[in-house]
Symmetry: C2
Subunit: 416 residues, 2 copies
């Protein structure tokens, strides 16, 4: 059977480069995904409760309490252990969840649409500073933030978006990249641009001054990664366009559940290829170190799948210190190395230091041949359920095996 | 008479580098500067009405109408011609005015304080998009914007600042530089960070929703240079610290009135050295070209005086296209060339592409010896009074003569 891999990969690159995601709506997971009662979508490749890492078990407990399926953490844990809760990867439903987050029915999601490729995606919305569900927290404080997001903040976003939207995320992210974001571990510019977009319509639709002030304060204080939900949704909408490109060796999904790292490949559909997730080499907040760290976790590696994050390190002098890299010249080297494993460059995301677009469309053949794996910028979660904290940030070097295994499967299917 | 120029210049550099300007207040020019009735402060070196360029004459007419000194433009023009209005450089009062702007008694000014050097400065506040006083406009639309600024916007800023301030401009600008602003022709990040800082307290202090929405919209739509008023105020506060450094050959002021370009030197006090202002090499908005352009104008070259703007081109891939430069590598070359005429580097403003701080403290000796003049990023105003429009942006290469002449005067004073 003849397969034109080069042509298929060019098609995949073209789809990733022409994607122009826009933010069109905020809808509950039940509404947007028809997510069933007692079903939770988690980050990364498939995993069941017993094997889940601490922070993901914590997030499951948090979502169970938030949905009212259990009255306390102990009951929630028993419910999960009993098999009464169904689990599926967010990626299997066109959605993305950051870190150890899980998505439940009443949670509000961003809806992102890419008309250029006729795709849609949905993204979990973060709740800012302090203990968080996405880091495994389930304290009353964490649950209160989730309820405020659902009952106050999300309706305000809906109103603002109806008045002012949709928001062109491709243009916003292109501008943010020019402003030093690599869009994975630095979204400071994206967040500022989002606040700039939202503030005037929010002033019009939120009638209570104290509520408006709290909303604006939430978006603009200690919350520089807030835009990551939008970045991830945009990247997922783009990546969905290549989830089935016959004959292509381009990676369509890269994700981690805190135990396994997994990829899917454009020419191999829904199948996951996994290996144990990496420890993250990074820098830690005071009082924390590698002993407290969970392994690499979250769907945010969708950023690297779309040519951002580690691929776009050279756009972001400021992320260098965040992820604990040595210097900006190392960041430039990283982007150059990533160029070796990618099919092409995305002109939407120019890297001035390299004089070209960001490396885009990871080719499993090049990864397997060079041994160079995608460099993933990431936050580090505390390993224990319930702590709910980010304890550092760094660079994850994922295992090579899934790429090699996928290449074998590709050969079996297309060249066998 | 023995003079230790190197030591004096190190002192000047040290003052410029340790400056940490903060935004502390908004006050009228009458209140802040005790600005007299029928006195106008203009940008650039000293100039009287007959020699003023078109846009500055337009701004004088605008300010005269705004203050109610004349009922129409014709009467205003006669008043100016009659000698009934006094003119002085804004710089002579510790203030700065962008482009062809003039400052009159009831105009609100930003008050900036640098505790590290015990200086204060005051800065004219821009009124955004469309016809503007600072480009020579005096239409009812221009005057209405100035009144809205005075009566609505400035009081809101005062309230927000009382609730949330002061704002650390040094930190804000350092962050904006990491976000691709060179702080002269690109202040997009600075403006977004300012809006981020102001939005929550504005929501608390502005009681009327429609007014609040207008204020937020004004700051966040088509107004990316809004922060320039803050940048200029900060740079002026820093530069004031070297207005009298005995024995120093460092430039303390660089400014243009649209007819003359002028400098002052740390070791030579208040004395101006001038030559005809340059034409700006730039790119024009559709329908406009060099024939419509006024010569280089405005106090905004205070940015280059503090090591930003053209000095910091290498921080700003995005400004390259704005000012019509060829490529980012040209921008890097510009910053390198500027390094040759400066005493040192400011670590507060790192240029990742060069691996060092931005070139700071222009030494007239190095300028005279190398023939390299400061490269100034600038907007281009329409040359006719009353048009009131920006018609392009580019790079001004100021005349060498004032630097050479100042060096002669320095030799006369210190080495004669």
């Amino acid at each position: 059977m003849a397969v034109d891999i080069e042509s298929a990969n060019r098609e995949a690159l073209e789809r990733l480069c022409r994607a122009r995601p826009t933010w069109t709506a905020v809808r509950s997971a039940g509404d947007a995904l028809a997510l069933e009662e007692r079903t939770l979508l988690h980050s990364g490749p498939p995993i069941e409760w017993p094997r889940m890492c601490g922070p993901m078990q914590g997030a499951v407990i948090g979502a169970t309490l938030y949905e009212g399926w259990a009255a306390d953490a102990e009951v929630a844990r028993k419910l999960a252990t009993s098999g009464a809760i169904q689990f599926a990867p967010a990626h299997s439903r066109g959605a993305v969840a950051p870190m150890a987050a899980v998505i439940s029915r009443t949670m509000p999601l961003l809806e992102i649409e890419d008309k250029a490729n006729a795709t849609k995606s949905w993204s979990f919305i973060g709740t800012g500073f302090g203990p968080q569900l996405r880091f495994g927290g389930f304290s009353p404080e964490v649950l209160e933030k989730l309820r405020w997001l659902r009952d106050v903040y999300a309706p305000a976003l809906v109103g603002a978006l109806e008045k002012e939207g949709p928001l062109d995320l491709a243009a916003t992210m292109a501008q943010a990249l020019q402003m030093g974001d690599e869009m994975h571990m630095r979204n400071a510019a994206g967040t500022a641009l989002l606040a700039r977009f939202l503030a005037p319509p929010l002033a019009a639709v939120v009638k209570d001054a104290a509520t408006l002030e709290r909303i604006l304060r939430f978006m603009t204080r200690n919350n520089d990664q807030f835009f990551l939900a939008w970045s991830m949704g945009a990247a997922k909408a783009a990546a969905r366009s290549i989830e089935n490109v016959e004959g292509s060796t381009v990676v369509s999904t890269m994700a981690r559940n805190g135990v396994d790292f997994g990829i899917r490949v454009a020419g191999l559909g829904e199948r996951w290829f996994t290996a144990p997730a990496a420890a993250v080499a990074g820098s830690y907040f005071p009082g924390f170190g590698p002993d407290h760290a969970n392994r690499d976790v979250g769907d945010s590696a969708i950023m690297e799948t779309w040519g951002l994050g580690g691929m776009a390190m050279a756009a972001s002098p400021a992320v260098v210190t965040i992820v604990g890299a040595k210097s900006f010249s190392d960041a430039v080297k990283t982007s150059r190395a990533m160029g070796e494993i990618c099919v092409g460059r995305n002109a939407l995301f120019p890297l001035a230091a390299l004089g070209e677009g960001s490396p885009t469309a990871i080719d499993i053949r090049r990864v397997a041949e060079s041994g160079i794996v995608p460099s993933i910028n990431t936050a580090i979660a505390h390993r224990d359920a319930g702590v709910g904290r980010i304890i550092g940030a760094g660079i994850a070097t994922p295992p090579l095996e899934p790429f090699v295994e996928a290449l074998g499967a590709f050969a079996d299917r297309y060249l066998g």
